[in-house]
Amino acid sequence: MEASITLKKVGKLIRDKTILASLTFGIERGSLVAIIGDNEAGKSMLLKVISGIEYQEFGHVYINGLDSKKRRLDIISSIGFVPHEIDLDPWLTLEQNVRFMGLMYGVDTETVNTRMIQLARELHIIPHLKKMVQDISPGIVKKGMILRALVHDPDILILDEPTAFMDVESYRHTWDLLLRLKGKKTMLYVSQSLSEVEEAHDRILVLEDGIITLDGSLDKLLGSTFDYHQFQIEFEELSEDLFQKLSKVPMVKNPSRIGNSIHFYGRERNVFFAVLNAAASAVMKDISVNKLGLQDLMDAKFARDGIH
């Protein structure tokens, strides 16, 4: 498929600190790509560089095949950007904010109104359009920001924490819209909510200290960890001796304790029975066995080591 966004050896410095380090990757047209990573990993900066808010010091960003530095005015209208922080003008109504940006992009008033009403209906924010932004809750304003980013009908939508500040219903409305747009628009988003990423991904990029350490679909990323399970056993009382004894059971990986519970990983199910046998004398209150998810992939280094 044709690439919508292409990065070639993109590097970004702030003073002497490297924020992005020689990133090279492409994003296919119409795909939905999530970027995850720890704080300060460079996720938001990557979105800013791609959207043109900040220029990179090194390398090239191509949007629809055009160099973002040399052809800025040609490509800028094909991008819609939703930052993490609320950035609407608080002294205008939601409608005025959206209309103003639509006109700035050269969209005629009638088209702006039609799109605004349609998108506002999908996002369930029609009753809030006439309100001053400063009087609206942050979750609704965030939906207003998504509406503003879409009003000029960009090919590429870049979102930094698209569902930040939202309640469950708003979260659902937002993802209903984004999933409807999947395939029609290239969407790139950053999220700290790994469950959100697990639910609605095409591809996941894991960023660590400005470098992409993992790249692929959820199935691919978790591919080499499918054999692993995470176990948790809650005891009535988990003594230090018992914890140490259980930690030393062969095949137990990354044991940790939270109160009277022991949490560990194991490749085979029989590790669970080995632990149960070793703890036979202690009173157990609860047990759980789960497959690994993105959270485990991010947390447990041993799981990631298996992929490389």
């Binding site: 808010i53 900040e54 005015l73 800028i76 209208s77 950007f81 950035d87 608080p90 103003f100 940006m101």
Partner: protein, 232 residues
Amino acid sequence: MITFSFMVILPLLLHVSITMVMKNIFIQSLDKIPYEIWVFPGIVLTIASMSMYSIIYRDMFDLRIHKKSFLPMTLTPFTKTQLILGFLITSIIETTVYVLIAMGVLTILLPNSLDWSDYFIIPIFAFLYSFILGNIIITFSVLTDRVSTYIFTSVTMFLVIVFGSGILVEFEFYPKTIGIILSNLPLSMILTSLRGIIFFNRFDWTLIITPIVVAIVWTWMNGYLLKRKLRQ
């Protein structure tokens, strides 16, 4: 409504606190024009200055430092110079409305009214004056990131403009060298040129072209500064 009331009260305040006091000191200009008539264009441009400061603070500085809707504007298909020009034009249009209100109020307070054509000329020069002053304010707005610094520089600049542009006092009252330097600054040129036209029917192209060229170059420079500041 509050803004409108303020724009009616402001010229009244300036008339009471400046014109009514200063006319007892200066009585008339060196060219024998009654002080309250001579200072009229200066008071109008002072109001234009106050308006430009507050509008650019509201539309540009405040939105930029608080990260509200300014960055999205920079992502629209306009060059930074075009954006600066947009900020300037919108603020000048708003200022022109305030200037017209101020002229109306001040005229009621004048013992002798100006010629009717002067009421067309003054807003045109106020437009040019605001064009340059707006650029000065925008430069500070781009270079400054803190409200306290902005206010400090604004108040300092405002005082320099009011006392150093021939708004209240003629340049002949300053020490000779300082008077020559101040009278050759672009903002002073506009005021000198305006008074030359309305009081003596004297039209000096140099005094008009120079500020226009300065304003255009400054607008371009502000666009460059903004581009550097935003790292875009």
